[in-house]
Subunit: 319 residues, 2 copies
Amino acid sequence: MDRGAGVDIERILAGDRRAVARAISLVETEGPEADRLLRSLFGRTGNAYRIGITGPPGAGKSTITSKLASAFRRSGHQVGIIAVDPTSPFTGGALLGDRVRMTDVELDDGVFIRSMASRGSLGGLSRKAGEAADVLDAAGKQKILLETVGVGQSELDIAGAADTTVVVLVPESGDSIQAMKAGLMEIADVFVINKSDREGADQAVMAIQMILHFRERAVWMPEVVRTVASEGRGIDDLLQALERHRRSLESRGGLAERRRNRLKRHINDLVAERLKKEFWSEERDSLLGQRLEDLLRRDANPYDIVEELLGHFHERGAL
Amino acid sequence: MDRGAGVDIERILAGDRRAVARAISLVETEGPEADRLLRSLFGRTGNAYRIGITGPPGAGKSTITSKLASAFRRSGHQVGIIAVDPTSPFTGGALLGDRVRMTDVELDDGVFIRSMASRGSLGGLSRKAGEAADVLDAAGKQKILLETVGVGQSELDIAGAADTTVVVLVPESGDSIQAMKAGLMEIADVFVINKSDREGADQAVMAIQMILHFRERAVWMPEVVRTVASEGRGIDDLLQALERHRRSLESRGGLAERRRNRLKRHINDLVAERLKKEFWSEERDSLLGQRLEDLLRRDANPYDIVEELLGHFHERGAL
């Protein structure tokens, strides 16, 4: 088979840990080599089931992820975990804590764990997480867990990258569940109330069910599962809820629909990047540079300059 | 003067509250009317000084913002406040709380307050916040305060939209300041340790100064100001620090540099949006639709489809 530059495709497809790790690093740094690699791997993707796990800081997402991974391993599945950290400078230490809590699956050769942190835009991060999932998919991982803390855009991106999305809350979330934004209700296929040995678990479950009850009739009514993940309690219930959601999706063509949308978004992203690269040629970049002083003096208008640049692009093309 | 569709440019320039409010609503909904409006207003922008205020939830950003606004009012300045909420579904109630805490300036006709919430992408939100600031700038606001909670990308966007960026922390942040990501050090022009009557304020100040001391020599050494904003303590110190930063920027051409970069980014955003709109014509959209089933079956490759679509675009242009 063909060889991506410096990356051994055969070894990735065979699930070799180091080859997979190098491949994901390549995806993270981007560039033509990464594109070539992803192009070679695409035909071998589409077999993994992707589960997104999101929720507020401290809800126990990593513990849930780790316990799910162990359970999938017991069923003989190969597992990939991608922990996405949308770099808030104010939550610098979170990632390390997450890693520590996954030690029980870290030594298992059937589990591949990778943390990805944002350096540039969040949009870019979710695309890369999706591409890393493609690498794991091609490498034979049958279950891929995509975990991210819910801050701003990141939980929506994870939902877009997953076949099934799990929203993890704690009993204390109960008070604010009423105030939660509609977005949460739209992305959650399964709710987990973790640490449900604490007070308020019943009320939290009821609050979610109430909101779900009053919203528009959907094809799938999200299930609400109680767990105490640190003790492994409720993990089987969660597995069953995940399985029921998967079957529901499959029975009504929903899985193909989600994957079609995901491919469409991926192509949209790739096109946007290519257009950006083609547009900002040296010539147009220096043309903009010349206009900036006029703009600062208000002798020019950004909207006219955009027209001028677009005219130049359509006349000369990607030069 | 000319009239944007349904929007009275004269009244916006005169600072009329309702005209300004309508103009910002138009900017939020986007579209050609918004573009026409912003084009008409651009020549009248560039006079306001823009201050970004960011920090973790609960640090007291809104109180600081409110106190700064009052102080600017006492100096006879017109003030605009844009509170940006990067919609985390897990922090649904934050905005309401922020609003309540701004009541002391809300009734002042010289202060215009607007909250903006994210519906789509965060990138889009920061662009719209910048455009709303342009409206306020044209409407004669001399000081514009852009406030956002630091979650992921949002604090970087705010820094990009501001002339001076204030990072608000509390004494308890002290322990984790060491762990804070480098991003914070790069965006902060002024640090505020708010609620500094609490224990640990000295250590927090020292921790920041230590990190600042060890980083690469910069032209401007960020100042660290202690405040108890709820009691108005330290606000004068903060004002003086802001003023020193502004003078430092101006003396070395840094203000023009920041504004040049801001205009450049704005034009980049406008171009990306126009290209996206031009690219995804009905024809190419349906072409992609036809290919999606092949993709799902792995009979096609996203990367080849992107090439095909780009070829079509360059041949036919924006049809």
